[in-house]
């Protein structure tokens, strides 16, 4: 089973621009010594992370390791209180979700942040509705939403005018992802997108995730499920108690090494292969 998965990762990797080495390419997003404190809790300390376009960067770690907080600092919900964020090589300040959207960063939150009473189109355009002569332009929104969904090959929806409450978990996830993609985003952040899904729906979301990367978008993918992580990730970053303890290319990586980092913050296995975060 391991063998099959890594073959697919290799195949997917071939489409991405560069491959494993971080060398000369400019990261889409770079965090430098980013820190975040909540009162006495040091949620993040001096995180360094690089996210490249066309790659899926998985962020893993135990409960409370700081994964969600990391995402929220990038998406403008919890602006960092130390360190730097570089966007396409230039320092930026992201203070609100609007700032993040303006840069091309869209987030699919852990709880999806969809409105059950609204339909698929209304959700995809929530807060950014198109208008024409100051009136909602339903037709243009409907066709844009449908086009985005079909470009992502999401075809299981009966209608884009269905309320989101009537969708299955996987369909909701697909809508949330499509919503993130529709805004010409360059970086899509997904917090545990497969946590509540069954086998088939998980596969659909993973496929969707790969498709975003092959379109040249950067993707940050948070998950507790190593099967999912190894199926989609190009890079795997490990958080341990608010620190980034490893950032490793996924190709050919021994799963047990990741387990070691997640559980103890260090690994003695295969040390020579590892591009340690601090060294890179």
């Amino acid at each position: 089973m391991d063998g099959i998965e890594s073959e697919q990762v290799v195949a997917a990797d071939a489409q991405a621009s560069g491959g494993g080495g971080a060398g000369s390419r400019t990261p889409l997003l770079e965090l430098r010594k980013m820190s975040k404190q909540f009162g006495p809790v040091q949620a993040l300390s001096e995180i360094d992370l690089k996210v490249y376009p066309g790659e899926v960067t998985a962020v893993v770690g135990d409960n409370g390791a700081g994964k969600s907080v990391t995402l929220k600092t990038i998406s403008g919900i919890h602006p960092p209180d130390g360190g730097e964020i570089l966007w396409q090589g230039k320092p930026v300040h992201i203070r609100t979700p609007k700032d993040a959207s303006a840069l091309g960063i869209e987030t699919v939150y852990q709880d999806l942040a969809l409105c059950g009473n609204l339909d698929v189109v209304q959700n995809m355009f929530l807060g950014r509705e198109r208008t024409r002569n100051h009136l909602l332009d339903e037709n243009s929104m409907e066709s844009a939403a449908a086009a985005t969904l079909s470009s992502l090959s999401v075809t299981t929806l009966r209608s884009v005018r269905q309320s989101v409450a009537s969708l299955s978990g996987g369909q909701r996830q697909a809508v949330a992802v499509a919503k993130a993609v529709m805004w010409n985003s360059k970086l899509v952040i997904m917090d545990e997108p497969t946590a509540a899904l069954g086998v088939a729906q998980t596969a659909m979301v993973l496929e969707l995730t790969r498709r975003l990367a092959s379109r040249g978008l950067g993707v940050i993918f948070v998950s507790h499920n190593f099967n999912d992580v190894f199926e989609v990730a190009d890079q795997i970053a490990v958080l341990y108690l608010g620190r980034l303890v490893a950032s490793l290319p996924a190709k050919g990586l021994d799963r047990q090494v990741v387990v070691d980092y997640v559980t103890s913050g260090a690994s003695s296995r295969n040390g020579s292969q590892l591009a340690h975060a601090d060294g890179a």
């Binding site: 099959i4 697919q8 919900i77 609100t96 979700p97 609007k98 959207s101 939150y109 709880d111 999806l112 942040a113 969809l114 409105c115 059950g116 009473n117 609204l118 209304q122 929530l126 807060g127 950014r128 509705e129 208008t131 100051h134 009136l135 909602l136 090959s153 999401v154 075809t155 299981t156 009966r158 409450a165 009537s166 969708l167 299955s168 069954g198 086998v199 088939a200 998980t202 596969a203 659909m204 993973l206 496929e207 790969r210 199926e231």
Partner: protein, 350 residues
């Protein structure tokens, strides 16, 4: 699970043929239509029993009697859609009726349109107070408007005490709005219908009003999407206040007197009416058309009982029963939806 089989999963599902169950679903969702059918059924049934029920005077009385409740229902709906509630509408109506009456007492020639604006203004002031406390201080609206319900009623009782306003103090033109008909339809009903149509249209076509549904459906998601949640909630209360203020002026025009109890207890009738009309008490769904039809249904039943010479006690019992039936019905529809979802998922998993 391999990616290849995942792609298979994405192939278009065969379109399910419409089953009787699906048709039933569509019927269940058209709440407004359902209420209209019930209104006509009650009306028809009562007419068979007592033919004078269908006389034009009786129908005019029916429409005029429901109008103020339906009007307040429009404002209440906007607030309830945002997952809040405005319990102060009855008290605001009473205060507005008093203030407009007082204006006429001191200026017998006060222009009629301006008098309505005065009523609306009183409502706006009350709405600003409600909205500011709810949105800025983030106190639950149930508590805030329960407070203003008693506060405004108290103010009302203090000021109305001793003031004598009777039809002779109020210009005939103003009273005409409350009691006259145009082409056989009560003016007060026409005004309500216009408000329902305009607000109903605005709710469907303006961006800011889409936000109201989002706020009631998932406040956190609305906030994340950049919706100015507090601002919208504030304005929802101001709007509800304005409508209650207009209702106060119409109440004065209809009854041509001022009492400290004007509008007392209206809040419960209005809230039950809009819930019967399909506005979910948890927010996020409902239309102003439904909200206006709910009170019309309650009033039709009320009048039908009178025409059938059934004790007034039954009126309240039936209103209560309908309210519970409406909520049970909503629950049934959503359970049915969940069950359908499970069945579909199971069918796909197989």
């Amino acid at each position: 699970m391999t990616i290849a089989s995942a792609v298979g999963e994405l192939a278009p599902a065969p379109r399910p043929a419409p089953t009787p169950g699906r048709v039933w679903d569509i019927v269940l969702r058209a709440r407004e239509l359902g209420i209209l059918v019930v209104i006509f059924a009650v009306f028809g049934g009562t007419t068979i029993y007592n033919s004078s029920f269908a006389s034009s005077a009786s129908v005019q009385q029916l429409l005029a009697g429901a109008s103020i409740y339906a009007l307040l229902g429009v404002g209440e709906t906007i607030v309830i859609i945002t997952r809040n509630v405005d319990l102060s509408v009855g008290s605001v109506l009473g205060l507005s009726a008093y203030v407009v009456g007082e204006v006429f007492l001191h200026n017998p020639n006060f222009p009629v349109p301006l008098a309505f604006l005065v009523g609306i203004g009183v409502g706006v002031v009350c709405g600003v107070v409600n909205g500011a406390i709810v949105a800025v201080a983030r106190v639950p609206s149930l508590v805030v408007t329960l407070g203003t319900l008693y506060l405004i009623r108290g103010v009302d009782a203090l000021v109305v005490n001793g003031v004598q306003i009777d039809p002779s103090s109020i210009p005939g033109g103003f009273i005409g709005v409350g009691v006259n008909n145009i082409l056989g339809v009560p003016w007060i009903f026409v005004i309500t219908a216009v408000v329902v149509l305009v607000v109903g249209y605005a709710m469907r076509t303006f961006r800011s009003n889409r936000d109201l549904y989002a706020i009631g459906s998932n406040p956190a998601a609305a906030e994340l999407a950049g919706v100015p949640v507090r601002k919208r909630v504030f304005w929802a209360f101001v709007f509800s206040g304005a409508i209650a203020g207009l209702g106060g002026a119409l109440w004065l025009a209809q009854f041509a007197t001022v009492a400290s109890t004007a509008g007392s207890g209206y809040e419960l009738i209005v809230v039950s009416g809009v819930v019967v009309g399909g506005v979910a008490i948890f927010g996020g769904s409902g239309t102003v058309l439904g909200a206006a039809l709910g009170p019309l249904l309650l009033n039709t039943i009320n009048q039908a009982l009178v025409a059938a010479r059934i004790s007034a006690f039954w009126n309240q019992a039936i209103a209560g029963g309908l309210l519970i039936a409406a909520i049970a019905f909503d629950r049934f529809v959503s359970l049915r939806r969940e069950r359908n979802l499970r069945l579909r998922r199971a069918a796909r998993g197989a």
